[in-house]
């Protein structure tokens, strides 16, 4: 058990139009400092739910288990406190914010996190310098900074905007929920590069994906298979290769 992210018997449910629906049914997962782990699993197995519960979305009710991060009870913190502590979620479907300018949004977020971490806020000019350097890195046009957050962005542009936010907020735990889906081949490489260049002994990532290809670029330390709200198998990078070839059947059968 590491002192970084430790999830133990985590259970969560959602209120689906009045009837509670159990989604996470006892997740055990340990991600040590500096490691990249991947989660793969069939549609509807609870991967996004896990990422939401870890980042503090209130729709989900935690009914059992625990999650500690850097020694703190993660589940007791507000979403903004988790962000300040270093948790970042790249959304599977990034939310549109009509009427909220993207550059203002990014600066507000960066400064909120800096404030909470006891760092000085960035003034408009140094922020712009930082953000310009990052957009260039991600081959994003500056024009996207002038638009409303994610409004009218293509699928791939939304994902890049997520990676931009991740880079600006400098998390110590990045949860990437299918950040590769919707990306063209070049964008996939750019995004993977954006994650890889953050890799350090103080940066861990949980990469949720359906595709082995992303894991060719971001090579994980561990791969977990999730089904029906549980982790049913864990192993090294070879697990992704087996899944790519043979699908989930053997793991599902072994777990049954």
């Amino acid at each position: 058990m590491s002192d970084f992210l430790n999830i133990c018997g985590l259970q969560a449910r959602i209120d689906a139009d009045g009837t509670p629906k159990d989604i996470l049914k006892g997740i055990d997962l340990d991600i040590p400092r500096g490691e990249v782990h991947a989660i793969m699993g069939p549609n509807g197995s609870g991967k996004s739910t896990l990422s939401y519960v870890l980042s503090g979305r209130e729709d989900y009710e935690v009914t059992g288990g625990s999650a500690t991060f850097k020694g703190q009870d993660l589940l007791a913190l507000d979403p903004e406190e988790r962000a300040a502590l270093g948790v970042f979620l790249a959304f599977q479907s990034p939310v549109e914010l009509p009427g909220v300018n993207n550059a203002n949004f990014l600066r507000t977020a960066v400064n909120a996190v800096r404030r909470a971490r006891g760092e000085d806020e960035l003034d408009a000019i140094s922020f712009l310098k930082t953000v310009r350097a990052e957009t260039k890195h991600l081959s994003m046009s500056d024009e996207m900074l002038k638009r409303a957050v994610n409004v009218g962005f293509s699928g791939g542009e939304k994902k890049r905007n997520e990676v931009l936010q991740m880079r600006l907020l400098q998390p110590s735990l990045a949860i990437l929920d299918e950040t590769d889906s919707g990306l063209d081949i070049d964008a996939l490489r750019i995004v993977a590069e954006g994650v890889n260049s953050l890799r350090s002994p103080d940066f861990s990532a949980l990469v949720i994906t359906h595709h082995q290809r992303l894991l060719d670029y971001i090579v994980p330390d561990r791969v977990h298979v999730m089904a029906k709200g549980r982790i049913i198998h864990s192993g090294g990078p070879e697990v992704a290769k087996i899944l790519e070839k043979q699908g989930y059947t053997q793991f599902l059968e072994a777990a049954a």
């Binding site: 503090g56 903004e80 962000a83 939310v95 909220v100 949004f105 507000t108 977020a109 909120a112």
Partner: protein, 398 residues
Amino acid sequence: MSGQSVAGQTSAALDAFVERAAARSTVLAGTGIPTRRVEAWRYTPLRSITEIVWKEAAPLDAASAKNLLDKIAYPANGHLFIFGNGREVTSLSSLPENVLRTDAEAVDPLEDRFSAVLNGALGRDGLSIRVPKNVDAGLLTLATLHQGSAISTHLRHRIVLEEGASLTLFDANVGEGEYLSNPRFDIILAEGARLRHVKHQSEAENAAHLAIINVEVQGNAEYDSFTLNGGGAVARHEVVTTLAAPHALVHVNGVQVVNGTRLNDLTSMIHHAAPDCNSRQTVKTVLSDTAQGVFQGKILVDRVAQKTDGYQMNQALLLSEKAQINSKPELEIYADDVKCSHGATVGALDDEQLFYLRSRGVPEAEARDILVTAFLTDALELVADEALRELLLKGLFS
């Protein structure tokens, strides 16, 4: 008037008003303060003003006036004209060059509108000005300030823009204590004139504000108004405007930010009395706690007003389950070749958007303000003067 006398009620307030008005007018004697049975006041009860014996106010000295005004953001440039407790604060007031002060004149009594009736009975001081032909008079801030308890003022302003003249008026309303501010504006815009009327209503939380704005817009002239209704226990901004000749253009836009137990009301009558005119109205209301918002927007299109282009949109954002919006759009159209569209929506903050912002480290209160401001953005963008828009933005959550 009959509608009101039937349903109106007598009260301490009315007695006080009648007594003060007696010397100059008998108009109040037959009337009462409208109850909720009067259609125009159905959603805006005046109960809170009926119990108070409203007195005449003592004038404000310049220092107190300055202190009050500093409570809100107002333009640093242009000219400033101040009324403190209903009297001109001469030492702080000036008018742009070329703007002429004129005598008050008789006005349409608007006797089916209580705010006008009350003002008609008790109105006295005010600013009467004329901007001569083709003069651009720039920016004038008109500050209406109050301080005291159980006082009422009933200012009467008259603003005439001659042909091709223009003026930007920043209409600031702020005060302290318990008072009733009941100003009336009569605005006449001659051919090709343009008035930008940007108002910030930021009255004290125990104050009442009943403003009535009566505007006549001639051909090719433009009345471009925007009101931030954001203060007072009960506050109505009421506009009555007539598009009197072809190609007149009117904007009656606004934002209402209502919290606590307050009630803010934007009521308008846009009367298309000539062909080829254009009216635009976007009103957004944000409500929290047990606040109430009222929007009553009527567009009347006369038979002669062919090719009228009318647009009306009112939207409300409820931040609390106990807040309430009453909106009553009304189209009355007698011409057959017109384009009139209107719409209304009521919604709440989007949880997903809120979570998205918070997951980026933005604290909840700030995230809410961001989303509320975003909701108001397309209305605020209608304030053409960027500097004034910035001033209003500062006043949104203060």
